[in-house]
């Protein structure tokens, strides 16, 4: 009998076993008591989820997941996607977008936009959720608050079209001097600093939403911080907001257009940015839709889910550094890289996600020109990948720069998976075709911004999402005075076109200017277009009428409805 077996046969061990089991049982019982106690404690402090199903036809409820907690829902300060998504459901501006993305009357029933200003006539039946009428004063107050320097609103620049806005924002004038005036409760008069041909598109943006003065002041600086710190004039109102955990929207019974709203409840009891967790929730039937990443796409196809896709309006590209000490300021070097760059290969073979489109211009495909799509009216100059031409330019660049070999170039990039793929592809491509070494400088968000602003790069992977549905949201990006022009590109010819586009009211003249800007950007190889971002998603077949759009509330559930048997 070996030593261990003896130890087991020992009466001591058997007693010990019995005691351990007793202790274990006692511990387990204690654990259950503890759990019940903790669950009770968290229910009184206000936890989160009612474990909901994705859809409930009888109560007209849908359940969604939020990718991020909205930082706050004060429309005068909102800047992020999630806040703008929720604001688009709980508030309404003077003008809104309909299901087919046309501008339609919102709080204003009609309007008149001139070269020096605009007039909006408000509808009589527009109401706040507490039953009080929405008046012209609510808009005037919101807009004054935004440009007030004390409010430190990041989006203040988008109101600079209004008379004196910039001076007020700089603290040189009082907010009362802003070019907006409530003539009466139902007439809003706006004065422009300079002509603006797309003011109707601007007022559809969340920053232009109304804020009621008496309510705002009564919250003592906490406006938009919690559900009870808001008053609503949109199709829905927020009835629950547990920070980081749960947002619940319910139909607003005082909304003027309530008959078109078919959902009663939009419940968002999950907040996570983890795409795998979101897809798991969808698979479990807990949420009504999920955005897919590359990892989940195969899985979704195997499960025969109904996969939808759309373009989210953003365009991504590689920017060059034009500061004179950087060799990327050399035109031939940029042209050499431009003739090698192949956005279709990047999109189709490297990114390989449905919904993504190869980019050929700064202006994405969805923009409208004079009448039809901008890119059809003004087709961008085509640069077909051509190795021979690229090498010719490379030789010219070496001669200009007086070097035998092009020194390594630094490509600044972010830490997202697609940014990584893109950077590695570019690195490989330029090395193979031109023998140029690319050093990838991968940085997290704020550090990347820091390096972009200080000009610490040769090339940087950048992108732009639209603020409003006019080509100008892209068109002025490379103007010499624009802070987003991180490579400090400076071309008086382009600046002149931007000024025309900004100051003219004639659609034809403006679009001609954008066409010219597009031509300059490509011929001067100012950047290398990469892709127009797409979103791939799965959605419960019982949910219909969800609207996706490049600008504004996306996705928009305000006109969505449920069917019992799809």
């Amino acid at each position: 009998m070996d030593e261990q077996t003896r130890a087991y046969r020992d009466p001591m061990s058997r007693v010990a076993m019995r005691q351990l089991l007793w202790l274990g049982a006692l511990g387990a019982a204690g654990l259950i008591v503890l759990m019940v106690a903790l669950a009770w404690a968290s229910s009184i402090t206000g936890g989160g989820s009612g474990a909901g199903r994705a859809t409930d036809f009888d109560t007209k409820t849908i359940t969604l997941v939020l990718v991020q907690e909205p930082p706050q829902l004060d429309s005068t300060r909102a800047t992020d996607q999630v806040s703008i998504l929720i604001l688009g459901h709980i508030m309404e501006g003077l003008i809104r977008y309909d299901a087919s993305n046309r501008l339609v009357p919102g709080v204003a029933e009609r309007w008149d936009i001139r070269s020096d200003g605009a007039t909006f006539w408000l509808r009589e039946d527009a109401r706040w959720s507490d039953g009080r009428p929405v008046t012209a004063h609510d808009f005037a107050f919101a807009w004054r608050t935004i440009v007030d320097p004390a409010n430190a609103s990041e989006y203040a620049f988008i109101l600079y079209y209004l008379k004196n806005a910039e001076a007020i924002n700089a603290g040189k004038m009082s907010p009362e001097a802003l070019g907006v005036r409530a003539v009466s409760d139902r007439v809003l008069e706006v004065e422009f600093e300079r002509p603006v041909g797309f003011f109707d598109k601007l007022v559809a943006f969340a920053v232009y939403f109304p804020v009621r003065e008496d309510f705002y002041l009564s919250r003592n600086g906490r406006y938009g911080t919690d559900a009870e710190d808001l008053v609503y004039n949109g199709p829905f109102m927020m009835t629950r907001w547990v920070h980081g955990a749960h947002v619940r929207l319910e139909k607003n019974p005082n909304y003027w257009n309530r008959d078109t709203v078919q959902l009663n409840v939009i419940d968002m009891p999950y907040v996570t940015s983890d795409t795998t967790a979101i897809v798991n929730l969808f698979k479990d039937g807990s949420v009504v839709s999920a955005t897919l990443g590359a990892e989940q796409l195969d899985d979704a196809m195997k499960l025969r889910w109904n996969i939808g896709r759309y373009s989210d309006g953003s365009v991504f590209y590689i920017d060059f550094n034009f500061r004179p000490e950087r060799i990327t300021s050399n035109l031939h070097l940029r042209r050499a890289l431009q003739y090698v760059n192949d956005s279709s290969e990047l999109v189709n073979k490297v990114i390989a996600l449905p919904g993504y489109q190869p980019a050929v211009s700064l202006f994405p495909a969805w923009l409208t020109g004079v009448e039809g799509p901008f890119r059809q009216e003004y087709p961008p100059p085509v640069v077909t990948p051509d190795l021979a031409t690229a090498r010719q330019h490379l030789e010219l660049a070496k001669r200009d720069l007086g070097v035998a070999e092009i020194p390594p170039l630094v490509l600044l990039t972010g830490d997202a998976p697609i940014a990584n793929k893109q950077a590695e592809y570019v690195q490989n491509l330029f090395a193979r075709a031109l023998g140029i070494e690319i050093r990838i400088d991968k940085q997290i968000f704020k550090q990347r911004l820091d390096k972009m602003t200080s000009g610490d790069f040769d090339m940087v992977a950048a992108g732009w999402g639209p603020d409003f549905a006019d080509p100008l949201t892209y068109g002025d990006l490379y103007a010499s005075w624009n802070g987003n022009n991180r490579g400090k590109y400076n071309n008086p010819a382009l600046d002149a076109q931007v000024r025309i586009a900004q100051n003219s009211l004639d659609p034809r003249t403006r679009m001609d200017a954008f066409g010219e800007i597009q031509r300059i950007l490509i011929e001067d190889a100012v950047h290398l277009p990469n892709y127009e971002r797409g979103l791939v998603y799965v959605q419960d077949p019982r949910l219909k009428g969800v609207v996706h759009r490049a600008v504004g509330t996306d996705p928009d559930y305000s006109q969505a409805y449920l069917v019992e048997n799809p």
Partner: protein, 310 residues
Amino acid sequence: MLTYTLKRLLQGIVTVWFIATATFVAMHAVPGDPLANERATTEQIRRNLEQRYGLDRPVSEQYVVYLEGMLRGDFGISFTQENRRVNDIIRENFPVSATLGILAVTYAALGGILFGALTALFRNRLPDLVIMFLVILGISVPSFVVAALSQLALVDMNAFLGFSLLPVAGWGTLRHMIVPSMVLGLGTMAYLARLMRSSMLEITNSDFIRTARAKGLPPARIFLKHQLRNAILPVVTVLGPAIAAITTGGFVVELVFAIPGLGRSFVEAVQQLDYTVIMGTTVFYGGFLVSMVIVVDLLYGWIDPRVRLE
């Protein structure tokens, strides 16, 4: 005992002050601008923002303001959640992390002690080998893998049953807490089991156990009063820091299971360079960790009377 407690408290306060200062310095040394956003702001808008957050003042003055606020227990307003106080963020999110953490530690301690004692009793026999294999697995598999796998298992289980037995994610009821806290406690449980096993083995062969048996004490009494109590000592020592580590380290579990805990706010704040939230949560966590260590020291003195004399 009183002097001992006071001495430990004073040490704790100095430690927290040091943490606060080091965080402040590190924060301002990190490259990156907390006010920068994808959209470049104009000079004017930037100045307005700087003024709002007091960043236009010299760093020394910012430090004084920060320490003053800390003494009053006020960590200021968040940079990213502009209208919310850091105190509110901690107050709302910490109870969630604490609930999750307490459960996880309880799981870990119960399981660790039980499995550790079992393996010691069955040394080198099948139960020992099986449990130790699982323990090594528990220590080496990172929590994000365990979290993702267990979530997938929940989806499949609910699909198999045809109804939702346990929710896949979310927070609020008892059913939401079970799986995440087990996942969170798994690593610590494995660690404690190993610790318990070796300490049990050491004690089984020690002189005082032999003496106890020789003087004819009943086996039940020997095991409970002499063996288990002494073997638990090292486990209690690591339990304090483990509580703090679990409560603060739940980021991945909180993200995967959509739990509104403080760990998630903290990591997001670091990514966003949200000065006030980073400093507030670091100091809060620092204070929490220090007080946990003090509690364990005092507890240790109670279990092992020799400690107090030192």
